[in-house]
Structures are given as structure tokens and as C-alpha cells.
């Protein structure tokens, strides 16, 4: 006999309240990050220089801007999911832990937004 309610079974949420969502998102972002990070490293190493003009020309290409946005978004989300688990593992005391989780969440949203803003600014020719 199971003590789980029929609704609980259908939702599949378990004790954590959100089921396998965290685990699955970690996998999805990691699959996305394999090609994105490899592309980023290879493209960066292939650039003739890391001077400002070269970088702006590179980032002004639509494909570069698009892939960079995907990279920053996927990496931010993947990082947030990962750091979250580390905090849950090692930060004890529910107050401190909750505070850390909130701060880490905000920090990653800020990183994602700032990264995307910077990429778009260059891509749309807004960099002075």
C-alpha cells in the first residue's frame, strides 16, 4: 500500500516538491553546453587577436551574437542549478541556506541579463 495521494502520484513531485525538474534541467543545459562551449573556445582561439575592433566585428555577426546569447543563458542556468546543490549540501542552518540560495539565484539572473545586454549592445552597433 502506498501512502502517496493519487494527485501526488500523478504529479510525480516526491518529497522535494518539484520532482525530477532540477535533475532534468541540469541534463538539458549540459547537453546544450557541450556544442556551445566547444564552439566558444574554438572561435575564440581562432580569432586573429583579442583587440576591441576584432571582437566587435566578430560579435556583430548574427550567428556569433545568437550563439553567445544561448551560451550565456544555458551557462547561467546550468551554473545556478549546480551552485544551488552545493549550497544545499554544505550550508547548514535553514536561514543562512535560504539567504544563500536567494542571493545565488539573483546573482545568476543578473549575470544572464548583463551578459545578454552586452552581447545585444555590440550586435546592434551600440558599443561606443
Amino acid at each position: 500500500m502506498s501512502l502517496r495521494s493519487p494527485l501526488g502520484r500523478v504529479l510525480g513531485a516526491g518529497a522535494a516538491g518539484d520532482g525530477v525538474r532540477h535533475w532534468w534541467q541540469q541534463r538539458l543545459t549540459s547537453v546544450a553546453l557541450v556544442p556551445l562551449t566547444v564552439w566558444f573556445v574554438v572561435s575564440l582561439l581562432a580569432l586573429p587577436s583579442l583587440g576591441h575592433a576584432t571582437l566587435v566585428a566578430w560579435m556583430s555577426q548574427s550567428s556569433t551574437a545568437l550563439l553567445l546569447i544561448l551560451l550565456v543563458l544555458a551557462a547561467s542556468w546550468h551554473s545556478q542549478l549546480g551552485v544551488r546543490v552545493v549550497i544545499e549540501d554544505y550550508v547548514h542552518g535553514s536561514g543562512t541556506r535560504t539567504l544563500c540560495l536567494v542571493l545565488i539565484g539573483f546573482a545568476h539572473v543578473l549575470l544572464a541579463a548583463a551578459g545578454m545586454f552586452a552581447i545585444l549592445r555590440v550586435a546592434f552597433g551600440g558599443a561606443p
Binding site: S49, G51, H52, V72, V86, I119
Partner: protein
């Protein structure tokens, strides 16, 4: 110490076990890459701020200490990428037998070191100039 059974902690684990070593390295490299993300966004913001803001950032990014940071990031990226692929294979239910897992641990270490050397060699010989 209480007499009741306790969950295993650092003093119980054999730290040299390949299972523990590959696992904790994956987590350490992951944390390093999270800091790398911070650096990436700082760099992107500096580019978007224009040539003068980029020149200011380059002063920081080319400090001698930063070479250590880039080396650490190359190591972290190489390891975490290959170890992550091993995890994805595990997630399909394959490669979980002890012998397979021992073998794949060596594959991860070997391939990631090759990757580190490749990237490191390209960075050194490519002479990443900032002008």
C-alpha cells in the same frame, strides 16, 4: 561521538578512491567555471562599453595573476566537459559496472589532460594579443 550509526563523513571515506576523486574534481571544476562565467560576463560588458572601457578591463585581465586564473579555467573546462559527458552516458544506464566505470575514469582523465594541453598550447603559441 554518539553510539548510534552515523552517515559516513570525510574521516570514513578513502579519499584516494577513483570514484570519490573523479566526483569531487567534477564539483570543484564546476565551481571554478561558475566563477569563469562571472569573468565572461565582465569581459562581455567591457567590450560593450567601448574601446576605452575595454582597454581598462584589459589592464586587469592581463595582470600576471590572471594567467593562473586562465590556466585554472582551461583545466576546469577540459575536465568538466569530459566528466560531464561521462555523466550523460551514465544517465542512459550504461557504463555503471565497476570495471567499466574504472576504465571510463581513466578515459576522462586522459582525454581531459589532452584537451588541456591542446588548448594551453594554442593559447601559448597563438599569442592571444589584446590589441
Amino acid at each position: 561521538m554518539p553510539t548510534r550509526p552515523l552517515s559516513p563523513h570525510l574521516s570514513v571515506y578513502r579519499m584516494y578512491r577513483y570514484t570519490l576523486a573523479t566526483s569531487i574534481t567534477n564539483r570543484f571544476t564546476a565551481m571554478a567555471l561558475s566563477l569563469g562565467l562571472l569573468l565572461l560576463v565582465y569581459w562581455l560588458m567591457a567590450i560593450a562599453g567601448g574601446a576605452r572601457s575595454y582597454a581598462r578591463a584589459v589592464q586587469v585581465l592581463t595582470l600576471p595573476l590572471m594567467k593562473l586564473v586562465y590556466a585554472a579555467l582551461i583545466v576546469a573546462f577540459s575536465y568538466h566537459l569530459v566528466a560531464g559527458l561521462r555523466h550523460l552516458v551514465w544517465d542512459t544506464g550504461r557504463g555503471l559496472e565497476r570495471a567499466q566505470s574504472q576504465r571510463s575514469a581513466w578515459v576522462v582523465v586522459t582525454v581531459s589532460i589532452v584537451l588541456m594541453l591542446l588548448i594551453g598550447w594554442r593559447v601559448l603559441c597563438g599569442g592571444m594579443h589584446t590589441s
